[in-house]
Amino acid sequence: MRVGVVLFPGTNRERDVLTAFVRAGAPRPRLIWHEESDLAGLDLVVLPGGFSYGDYLRPGAMAALSPVMTAVRAFAARGGYVLGICNGFQILIEAGILPGALLRNVTLRFLAQDCHLRVERADTAFTRHFQKGAVFRAPMAHGDGNYFADPATLARLEGEGLIAFRYTPPAGELAREANPNGSMNHIAGIYSANLRVLGLMPHPEDLVDPVIGGEDGLPLFTGLAEALAA
């Protein structure tokens, strides 16, 4: 499996993602500078977390216009796998590769705490090592993660099974307190129509090691490593 991790000015969780893939037994990903546009040979492109362009204007807005995103759009259109985490999710949304918008957290504060994510389907390259309906813990760290979509888009996402993860309590029911950023339908992550692009706000890559506090996020990376093994 060949993974590329894109580096924008202000990206700051690229090393976390590299570590997660290495812990998952995948080859060490290659770093891709935002001005590059050659994604040839990659199976998966990751847009990691951070504050690209300082999150100025709207998180992800400026990164979405960079040369590499033109390439990522084409890569996704060709059926390539793309994973956007946190700021990476915001960039995918701003680039129009995933639908909807990410508004400021309803609390109007940065949220840096663990949340629990319910796996809505386990038959994708990203979630094959999870059980459907399973709940896992992941750190969140964002100021703008409040998922919004117009009613038609939301209905389509729900109807086509494109919700990847929802914020829930550990037991997996839907509860308002477990949805701290106020996302519509408790959405923490969504897929593209072909299930090959995933964007999510929380950080499974920061919980892949028992010494750090758990391996709850590891199945995402081992699953991808298995699914995309060359």
């Binding site: 000015p9 202000g10 997660a20 504050f51 362009y53 999150d55 840096a112 760290a141 028992p210 750090i212």
Partner: protein, 731 residues
């Protein structure tokens, strides 16, 4: 522009008549405005340490593992495997009162630069905060802005904020303390210093453009606030963490090459202090051509450029011919880079602007003739005797526990650290709230650093010497509690006006106490900061010498946290006399800030700490917590809440009132959870260490010795109530 320089102007710049006379003697003439500005900032309290220098020398600064002590941008200690930890703490108190968000944010930015200037990648931020009375009308706004500012900057640059401390006290009503600490890691043989060398080498400016930000920030930090604080407002600097992040990456990339001879961040007094310090340390001269400085605004004068405190800038001396390499790297990261001068052999700072020489100052005398004061000191009144008032317990253990746990100084700080990204980097082993010290692993290694900030100002106010020693001992203890080997600390000495003998008396004694503890614990000072003039309208803050401790763990996996699991014995390590003087119990229950603070037995401190570390290292301890504010029962409750596991407590010793046993703040103590309490007691006895079995974990309640039961849920509600209620109180 050369406004007439007069003794009055010199005074307005903060130079007294004697200092101004010295300036004229050094130059042999009347200084230009730019020269006056340079002397004023270099000789300000903030940059010259003129009131503190003779006292700082008393602090021990050496140990075999210390690679660079005070005098560099940050302290450097060897941590094994060829690596070094680089760390420092710095205050941004006055700016944080004037504009809490930007003041705190730029405080974080400034301390980060001190660390990556030395070639270290920052891996953790901490802070120490002091706010006024929650009931004071300004407090909520200040807390809100400071917390947002620390998060806003640290989260964006991608350095996890892993620890800190917060207290409230009316003495900080209009003078909050914001001390920010950064820890970085570098290869021990790749540390970058600020000493310039190589006559003719280019002086290179990198980072953000220069604007009129914070002109006179350094002299402002050296003057007491009057009621006119508002009019000083335009000097506030704005931080841009995005540019800082780019600067970190660009500097570290250039540091992989051989291009850099010396490098120095532009902190207080920006271009002035960085150029003066680099050339001065190298015994060389330096010429600057201000026309080449990247400028954000038009029409800036030499004076303004030399004194600007625009953020996110660095000054470097490069090897000849490496300018293009540096330019390529900085441009790639979208940053300005310019050759603005070169090193000379004249020993003088020469500043040119628009064809004129705006300053020409001999660097030797600027440094050697900088004022140093042995200011008059007045011993504070002797520490008050332990009070009689504490003999009776009017409320009982359960009620006191609930009140203490809910009090602003002891309640959960989760509301605060839930706004700080503590996990970025993926190496945070112990996050805020999980252990006595934060633990951060070093990427690609098993090694981890343990980090903590500590100070009990109420002890320092009652007995500065004991309080200073206690701050050092508490930091040391927090490191031991997670099983780190304490290596060194950085300190931030926050005091009032040093021109007042009683403040200087506090300061000198606090340092003596710190030095004594540092020596006894083999725990030297490697960097630090002094913040004087923390007064508003003549009222000083509590003396607040904050200690930022650093220790190392050979294997991150051995770090212990405070979370209890069921089925464990709880063993108290260290002797308990029931010291209630200056305790939280006394303050919160009886409304008294009275008595002598708890005594410190540094030999016992060391024995207990080493014993605890050995026990953890042997794998016999499941959870560990040091005892501090609020004493034993608070520690029990915190361990129970962290692990969501109840505890049944045994009665305390006969002969000690229960409230004194459970809430006394005797020093040098730990609470350990182990599966075999009897064996632990036996080993403690063999080692000559006081120890006592105090209870056993299990269930969902805390059962007090007299039988009262409090559910964890209700304890948690007490513990977590204050911050959200206070902060979300209105808009």
């Amino acid at each position: 522009m050369s406004a007439a320089v007069t003794p009055e102007l010199a005074r307005a710049f903060g130079l007294n008549d004697d200092e101004y006379a010295r300036v004229q003697a050094i130059l042999g003439r009347i200084p230009s405005l730019t020269e006056l500005g340079i002397f004023a900032v270099m000789w300000s309290e903030h940059c010259s340490y003129k009131s503190s220098r003779i006292w700082l020398r008393k602090l021990p600064t050496e140990a075999p593992w210390v690679l660079h002590g005070p005098g560099e941008n940050a302290g450097v200690v060897a941590i094994g495997e060829g690596l070094a930890a680089v760390f420092k703490i710095e205050s941004h108190n006055h700016p944080s009162f004037i504009e809490p968000y930007q003041g705190a944010a730029t405080g974080v930015g400034g301390i980060l630069r001190d660390v990556f200037t030395m070639g270290a990648r920052p891996i953790a931020n901490l802070n120490a905060l002091r706010f006024g009375d929650p009931a004071h009308p300004l407090t909520r706004r200040i807390v809100d802005g400071v917390v947002r500012g620390i998060g806003g900057y640290g989260n964006c640059v991608g350095v996890p904020t892993v620890g800190g401390e917060i207290d409230f006290h009316p003495a900080y009503n209009t003078n909050p303390l914001v001390n920010a600490m950064t820890v970085g890691v570098a290869r021990a043989d790749r540390i970058f210093l600020s000493r310039a060398s190589g006559v003719g080498n280019p002086v290179v400016y990198v980072g953000a453009k220069t604007g009129r930000d914070g002109i006179h920030g350094a002299t402002m930090a050296s003057a007491e606030f009057g009621a006119d604080a508002e009019t000083k407002r335009p000097t506030v600097q704005i931080g841009d963490p995005f540019v800082e992040k780019l600067l970190i990456e660009a500097c570290l990339e250039l540091m992989e090459t051989d291009a850099i001879v010396a490098i120095q961040d532009m902190g207080a007094a920006g271009l002035t202090s960085s150029s003066v310090e680099m050339a001065g340390k190298g015994g060389l001269g330096i010429e600057l051509d201000l026309d080449r400085v990247p400028q954000r605004e038009t029409g800036m004068t030499a004076y303004e450029m030399m004194l600007s405190e625009s953020q996110e800038r660095m000054l470097m001396i490069l090897r000849p011919g490496r300018e293009a390499l540096a330019e390529r790297i900085f441009r790639k990261w979208g940053l300005d880079v310019a050759v603005i001068g070169r090193l000379t052999d004249t020993g003088r700072l020469v500043v040119r602007h628009q064809g004129r020489i705006e300053a020409d100052i001999p660097l030797g005398p600027l440094a050697t003739e900088a004022p140093v004061y042995d200011r008059p000191r007045q011993a504070p009144p002797p520490p008050p005797p332990p009070g009689e008032a504490a003999a009776q317990d009017p409320v009982g253990l359960a009620a006191a526990l609930e009140r203490l746990l809910a009090s602003p100084d002891r309640c959960s700080r989760a509301w605060v650290w839930h706004q700080y990204d503590a996990t970025v980097g993926g190496e945070t082993v112990k996050r805020p709230g999980a252990a006595d010290a934060a633990v951060v692993r070093i990427e690609g290694h098993l090694l981890a650093l343990a980090l903590t900030t500590d100070c009990a100002p109420r002890y320092c106010a009652a007995d500065p010497r004991l309080g200073g020693a206690q701050a050092v001992a508490e930091a040391w203890r927090n490191l031991c509690a997670v099983d780190a080997r304490p290596l060194a600390f950085t300190d931030n000495l926050n005091f009032g006006n040093p021109e007042k003998p009683e403040i200087m008396g506090q300061f000198a004694l606090a340092i003596e106490g710190m030095a004594e503890a540092a020596r006894a614990l083999d725990f030297p000072v490697v960097s630090g900061n002094v913040s004087f003039y923390n007064e508003t309208e003549g009222r000083a803050i509590l003396p607040t010498p904050v200690v930022g401790g650093l220790g190392v763990l050979e294997d991150a996996a051995q770090a212990r946290g405070i979370a209890l699991a069921p089925g464990l014995d709880l063993v108290l390590i260290g002797a308990t006399q029931g010291a209630l003087g200056q305790s939280l119990w006394l303050r919160e229950i009886l409304g008294l800030q009275a008595g002598a603070p708890p005594l410190l037995d540094l030999a016992a401190e060391r024995r207990c700490g080493e014993f605890v570390r050995a026990e953890i290292a042997a794998g016999r301890i499941a959870a560990s917590h040091d005892l501090s504010d609020g004493g034993l029962l608070i520690a029990v409750a915190e361990m129970a809440l962290a692990g969501n596991t109840g505890v049944s407590l045994l009665p305390g010793p006969a002969g000690l009132p229960p409230h004194a046993f459970w809430f006394g703040e005797d020093q040098g103590r730990y609470l350990l959870a182990t599966s075999d309490g009897a064996a632990l007691l036996a080993r403690a006895e063999a080692a000559g260490i006081a120890a006592r079995l105090i209870g056993r974990s299990g269930g969902r309640d805390l059962t007090l010795p007299e039988g009262t039961t409090i559910s964890l849920a209700s304890l948690r509600a007490c513990h977590e109530r204050f911050f959200p209620a206070f902060m979300e109180g209105s808009g």
